[in-house]
Structure formats: structure tokens, C-alpha cells
Symmetry: C2
Subunit: 211 residues, 2 copies
Amino acid sequence: MSEILLNVHVVMFSLREEALHVLLTPAEGRTWGLPHAQVQATESLEDAAARAFAGQIDKRQAHLEQLYTYGDPERDPRWRLVSVVYFALVPTNAQQASGKMRWFRVDKLPPLAYDHASITAYALRRLRYKLEYSAVGFQLLPSEFTLSELQHMYEIILGEKLDKRNFRRRILGSGIIEETPHQRGGEGRPARLYRYRPDAVAEVKVRRLFP
Amino acid sequence: MSEILLNVHVVMFSLREEALHVLLTPAEGRTWGLPHAQVQATESLEDAAARAFAGQIDKRQAHLEQLYTYGDPERDPRWRLVSVVYFALVPTNAQQASGKMRWFRVDKLPPLAYDHASITAYALRRLRYKLEYSAVGFQLLPSEFTLSELQHMYEIILGEKLDKRNFRRRILGSGIIEETPHQRGGEGRPARLYRYRPDAVAEVKVRRLFP
DNA sequence: AGAATAGTGTCTCTCAGACATTATTTG
DNA sequence: CAAATAATGTCTGAGAGACACTATTCT
């Protein structure tokens, strides 16, 4: 299809300074946009997505997942552009190189180019939704974390306070995390560190809606 | 991207003769494949998807939803083919033209070309999953239906028997359907007809898994 | 009247949600 | 010993799941 341009775009999320952030790159004029790459004939879509943020984030630390493909003929005034959009989560402590890209709080985004604002909004909606019924959230945390950190992560993304005792009862009862022998010290009583168990059934059964 | 071919494929489901069926079209050799179309520079992806089954099914009767984009360089030995795959549901009584395409029971599929078997399997998994937490199932039924027909649809797709009283209690309690003044006669006591209420909150809250 | 299908109510048990105090460490 | 954070248990109410009989129509 000589007249159709095929790109990938990436909506990358990370927790920084107690808030959810998105990685953006400078775009036309004073606007910002999602990191992107043109798909090469010999690479997979996922490899293209990894190229979009190469030099900024180590791809081995990123959890990548396909989000949606945008292909409306009106979305870019210059070309017929079809974009496969990926959704990425990186842990708080992920290594980061310097460059033109910057992290922005999702509640304080700069003006975004083209349809990137609606794509970002959709990705955020999906992140919140997936957080509730899958175990993706752990991709935003370092490999060992305290229960308070885990609860905090949920609270930031879902935007609501959770009850500490109920939270612990449910998260431990689900078997999705396990204790490590380590503790994290600091001010106050040290907290036990836990780790995520990828082998645990992440396909937990959700209560059905209708039948 | 002159070397990349952009297609759409459609996995279309319908209930026929008490079983879930998929629409297939003859492919290379003795195999069958998913209906497809090449994306034109001026049409939307969804329009291209509708073209894929034009002449067979009236597109106004089909519920179309984007499923996933497949773009592995190895998936077609002849070209670098990227396919945006749509998922379609049509009601049992949808008009159907004649042509080369045929309906096959999902549990008795013929040999499928390329990666179409895994795409179909994924679409089926998604259909079962979505059926449990959204209202898509109604797209497989005519606009008015009895509670027995509705329950039957769920049983066929989920592959398990459901309790009649619990089913009615929950489905009516959810407010997702409403009575019509009509009845359907036949053998035995006539049944009241219901209709789907698209305005009812289909975004019903699912019980959270973790937090 | 018999066959076929539609329609209806109760009990139990699990689990979500609300809620406050004690334990351990550091400065 | 004061400040800070971690860790822990109980009660109540809602709803999922199991279960069997009556009602209406047709032939």
C-alpha cells in the first residue's frame, strides 16, 4: 500500500514522585506527542514499538501490550497514517537515559498533537480498568515492594483511598504475591518486602455480570 | 511503506442451529480463511472491514469491534502482511446473500490458512470473556427474544448449563433488558418477549480482583 | 389429559466493606 | 519517650449458588 504510512506509537506510563506520568516527545510547534517509529518491513510491531523509546528506556524493563490501531483517514492532515498503539508500563526505578523526551503528570499534560490526547485518555482508561481485574499493576513497581507501596500505587492510579486492612486481606488472600526474607527500613517500623508471583493464576475469575 | 501490505480480516460469529458459527471464505488449496480486504487509502479501517463481508451480510446488522493487529514478519510467507482484525457479531436472523463464503461450527472448523486458526481461537476466547462482563451477547440475538432464548445463547457460548431461576433473577435485576408487550407462541406455554436496553449502564461494575 | 415449555421463591454461605488498636523501629 | 510507619481481627449486610414445583398453552 504505497500511500499508507504505518507507524507504531507508545503510551508509556510510570510512577514518579507520587503521581502517574506519561512519556512524551516534542512535536510540531509547541506541542508534544507520543513516541513513535515507522514500522520497517522486517521487524515485528513490538520491535518497532521498542524502537520508539530506544535510548530513553531499556526495553527489557518495559511491559509492552498492544492497545488499539488508529486508522481514521482524517487523523493526520498530511498523510494517511495508520498507527498501531502500544501501552507500556515501566517500574519506578527503571533506568532512564537523557534525551528530548520528558515525563509529564497525566493530570497536567501539555498540548498534544493530532489525536494524541484522545489516545492517551483511552490508554489511561484502559490502565485503570486493567488494574482492577488483572495483575498488570506490578509492572509499575520494583521487583520487591512493601504492602504500603503496593496499596499506594493502586490509590494513585485509581484515584481513591483504600482501606488498609481490607486491602491486605484481599491481596494476600489472592496468592498473587509472596513474602521475601527482606525488610525495608526507614522512618518508623520496618516493612516486610513482598514480590509478585507471575505463576499465580492471574486469570482469576471475575464475578460475572449477567448470566 | 511500499513493502508493507495492510489488510483487515474479520472473525464473524453467529448462532445457527444451536451452535456458534464462524464465517469463512475459500483460501489457497483446500483451506479456508477469514474474510478480508485490503485497506484503501481513503477509507477507514472499519469501512474496510465492512467491505470484507459485503455481499454476504448486511453491514448494518453487524456489530463490529476491533480485536487485535497481527504484524509478525513471518505470518505470511509471500509478503509482509499487517492485518487489523475485527470481530463481528450478527443476529441469528440476519439476512444473508449467497456466495463463496460459508458458515462453520466453531467446534468443527476446516483446515485454516496461515495463522487464521490462532486468530479465530483468540477471537473466541475474547467473545466468551466479553460475554461475561459486557452486554455484547445481545448482538447475537434478534431484537426481541424470550428469556429462554437468551439463556440458551449464554449456555451455547459459555459451554455450560445455567440455572433458570438464578439466571432470570440476575438478568432482570440488572435492568439490562425490558419487557415488550409481545409474546411468542409455539409448543407449550407462550413466552414473554424482551428487548435489550442499550441505554442501561452496560458499564456495570465488576468486582475487583485485587485492591 | 398429557406433553411441552414458561415462570416463580427460599435458604445458606461466602465475601465485600466498614471500622480502631497494638507493635516495632528511629531520633 | 515521642514520632512514624507496620501490622492485625470482627461484625454486618448483600448477593451468588443450590434447589423443585406450579402455570399456561397446544394437540
